[in-house]
């Protein structure tokens, strides 16, 4: 099969002043909104359900189905919350979308809120990215000025207020119940589910939490139809999505394509591995998804194919590492990330990530002892599946998949420091890597 790209969400990112209402409208923006207002809310839900759109934030849950779980007979207000806490290592698709085309998201928010009968929507963006937040704030002001937000939007009788809310530095707030706690002004710690947010979410009211890319995909589905969307992709992973390639590739970046494309095809589009090197391993969907190697290059990058390999599509964030890279070093850094970001609520995660870091630190320094690799796996096995949220599963996935494919390299850590086995400066872009690689 010939692979092609299909720019839909990314289509207008390169145009001058793409973030303004004027430019967005000039490209056909907000046409889907008028179309949606001519439909009944339940028809909008059906359209999105039938398109096959699945959540783009990692779990891949069908978006329309999530919406249909909102109990409309519940007298409490309904809320829509957009998850823009993009923090999963490797993931870098939502931030450029917020910056280049905030109106795509706002149009999606209005249509989605209309579908679930919400009159207040929040866009929760991680705090460490000021410019995308600034662009979002301005776009919302423009939308109010143009009558696209507020009372009786475009004469439809539908009212909606949208609030951009900046986080304050916590990966865990990407987990939907932690995000809701954070939005309520609490520490961002996950809640036990059930009840699910659809029933008791923000302020204990029915709430839909969707990823930025999921909501941003909605206007295109309404505008061009469910059949157009479902006509792309594979049987159970329909439509298109943004793949993010980073690391030792010649042209790292955002590549929007129908599901069904393979890693080899994506890698080719990104110019391949930098000159003189070979692929060693990659994450298919962010650091929380078990790594794969050059043996898996022909894997179709969709939900089912990756699940079949014991990993996940996740956020479609492919961090690519070449043969200079120490797998112990990257695994340690990822696990240090999870240790740092553990909210501290559940003991297996809080303490377990700490133990994993200690063992990996010894192995990196070449001070591991015989049996440490098994101990690592033992700790991983002990802490997995025992917490409120899946954060610790991410840490465990890094460790178990790395050991699965590179056990011998970990055992070298019994005798030799990783930086001697694979000198770190060779992995950097600005020491050994020649400048033309990234020109």
């Amino acid at each position: 099969m010939t692979a092609t790209l299909a720019p839909v969400l990314t289509r207008n990112w390169g145009t001058d002043r793409s973030w303004t209402l004027e430019e967005y409208k000039a490209q056909g923006g907000y046409e889907a909104l008028s179309k949606a207002f001519a439909m009944k809310p339940e028809e909008v839900i059906s359209e999105v359900k039938d398109s096959g759109l699945r959540g783009r934030g990692g779990a891949g849950f069908p978006t329309g189905m999530k919406w249909s779980f909102v109990p409309q007979d519940n007298p409490k207000p309904k809320y829509l919350v957009v998850n823009g806490d993009e923090s999963e290592p490797g993931t870098c698709k939502d931030i450029p979308l917020l910056m280049a085309s905030p109106h795509t998201l706002i149009e999606g928010v209005i249509i989605s809120a209309y579908a679930i009968n919400a009159h207040t929507a929040f866009i929760y963006v991680r705090g460490e990215v000021v410019h995308p937040i600034r662009r979002m704030q301005r776009a919302i002001e423009e939308a109010y000025e143009a009558g696209l937000l507020g009372k009786n939007i475009l004469g439809s009788g539908f009212d909606l207020d949208v609030i951009v809310h900046a986080g304050a530095g916590a990966y865990i707030c990407g987990e939907e119940t932690a995000l809701l706690n954070s939005l309520e002004g609490l520490r961002g710690q996950p809640r036990l589910r059930p009840p699910f947010p659809a029933v008791a979410g923000l302020y204990q009211s029915p709430t839909v939490v969707n990823n930025v890319e999921s909501i941003a995909s909605v206007p295109s589905i309404i505008k061009y139809g469910k059949d157009w969307f479902a006509g792309m992709g594979t049987e159970k992973s329909q439509g298109f999505t943004i793949y993010s390639l980073s690391g030792h590739v010649r042209r790292p970046g955002q590549y929007e394509a129908p599901f069904g494309i393979t890693m080899r095809q994506l890698l080719t589009m990104a110019g391949g591995i930098r000159t003189g090197h070979e692929l060693k391993f990659f994450t298919p969907g962010g650091s929380s998804t078990p790594i794969l190697t050059a043996d898996h290059l022909d894997t179709v990058m969709d939900f089912e194919s990756l699940a079949g390999l014991g990993t996940m599509l996740g956020t479609k964030a492919m961090q690519v590492f070449d043969d200079t890279t120490s797998v112990i070093r990257t695994t340690l850094r990822w696990v240090e990330f999870y240790k740092h970001e553990s909210c501290g609520k559940c003991t297996p995660c809080r303490e377990g990530t700490w133990w994993l870091v200690q063992l990996l630190t010894k192995l990196e320094a070449g001070q591991g002892e015989e049996g440490d690799v098994d101990k690592l796996l033992n700790v991983a096995d002990t802490i997995t599946g025992k917490s409120f949220c899946p954060l610790v599963e991410g840490a465990v996935a890094c460790v178990t998949s790395a050991v699965k494919y590179f056990r011998e390299e970990f055992e070298i850590g019994y005798t030799t420091p990783a930086w001697e086995h694979l000198p770190y400066e060779k992995s950097a872009l600005f020491t050994i890597a020649d400048k033309e690689v990234r020109s």
Binding site: T4, A100, E128, V130, G185, S246, Q254
Partner: protein
């Protein structure tokens, strides 16, 4: 955030430093933030961003004022302030520098960048220079992996960094020369950024490009090959980018 003692940035708010610049105007601004939300406590995160913008850190007075406005206890406010890494418990510098050292950036050169910055500033992470110009932090993945290795200045992107570029950047900032984010506005100060995070629009949305080069790689390739995504884009086939 797990409470182990190897996190120098954790621990409680510094209650011994009672200095504050929070005046009636600041209190009015904090109170105004509450009005945006259906339930007032939701305003706490933006309010703490604003407290930092005024006091350079989460100050005891700031905690007190937030608690009074929201009708919760100072302990509840402090409990939130000490959970999130962006809230500083010691004064941050005029410019807050972040160097990403999560796996990918570290491998691509982030570790070397951090060493360069530490040496240049004479401080280590979680410290502030004596003149109050710079504070430094090791940041976790900042959602810009296709621009690695990445640094942040006042939470604005500084993409595709090298040690040479980092030294130049710090010199320019120290000398007060004009510096622009590679994908954003002219750099002013950490306090100004914190006001934006509090929800106060500073009117700079129109600065900077639509997107950085890596964000557009797919769009560029599609245009080159004549690939389109939407039915009405057919006419653009074969067009340039």
């Amino acid at each position: 955030m797990s409470g182990h003692d190897d996190y120098t940035h954790t621990g409680s708010v510094d209650m011994t430093d009672n200095s504050t610049r929070i005046d009636q105007e600041a209190i009015d601004q904090l109170t105004a933030l509450v009005g945006k939300y259906p339930q007032k406590r939701s305003a706490l995160l933006p309010m703490l961003h604003y407290v930092q913008a005024i006091d350079g850190r989460v100050s005891p007075r700031g905690i007190e004022v937030c608690a009074e406005i929201l009708d919760i206890t100072p302990a509840q406010v402090a409990g939130v302030a000490t959970f999130y890494t962006m809230y500083k418990r010691r004064p941050a510098g005029k410019h807050h520098i972040g160097v990403c050292t999560t796996a990918l950036c570290a491998v691509m050169g982030g570790d070397a960048l951090l060493e360069t910055v530490e040496r240049k500033l004479g401080i280590t992470t979680e410290q502030t220079t004596e003149d109050g110009m710079f504070s430094l932090e090791k940041v976790e993945c900042n959602a810009a992996c296709d621009f690695a290795p990445v640094m942040m200045v006042n939470w604005e992107f500084m993409d595709n960094m090298t040690p040479e570029k980092a030294e130049q950047l710090l010199d320019d900032l120290a000398e007060g020369r004009e510096v622009h984010s590679t994908r954003g506005p002219q750099i002013t100060s950490w306090a100004d950024s914190e006001k934006v995070l509090a929800g106060i629009n500073d009117g700079k949305a129109d600065e900077g490009p639509s997107a950085g080069t890596p964000s557009l790689e797919g769009v560029r390739l599609a245009a080159e090959k004549g690939w389109t995504g939407t039915p009405d884009a057919e006419s653009q086939k074969g067009g340039d980018s």
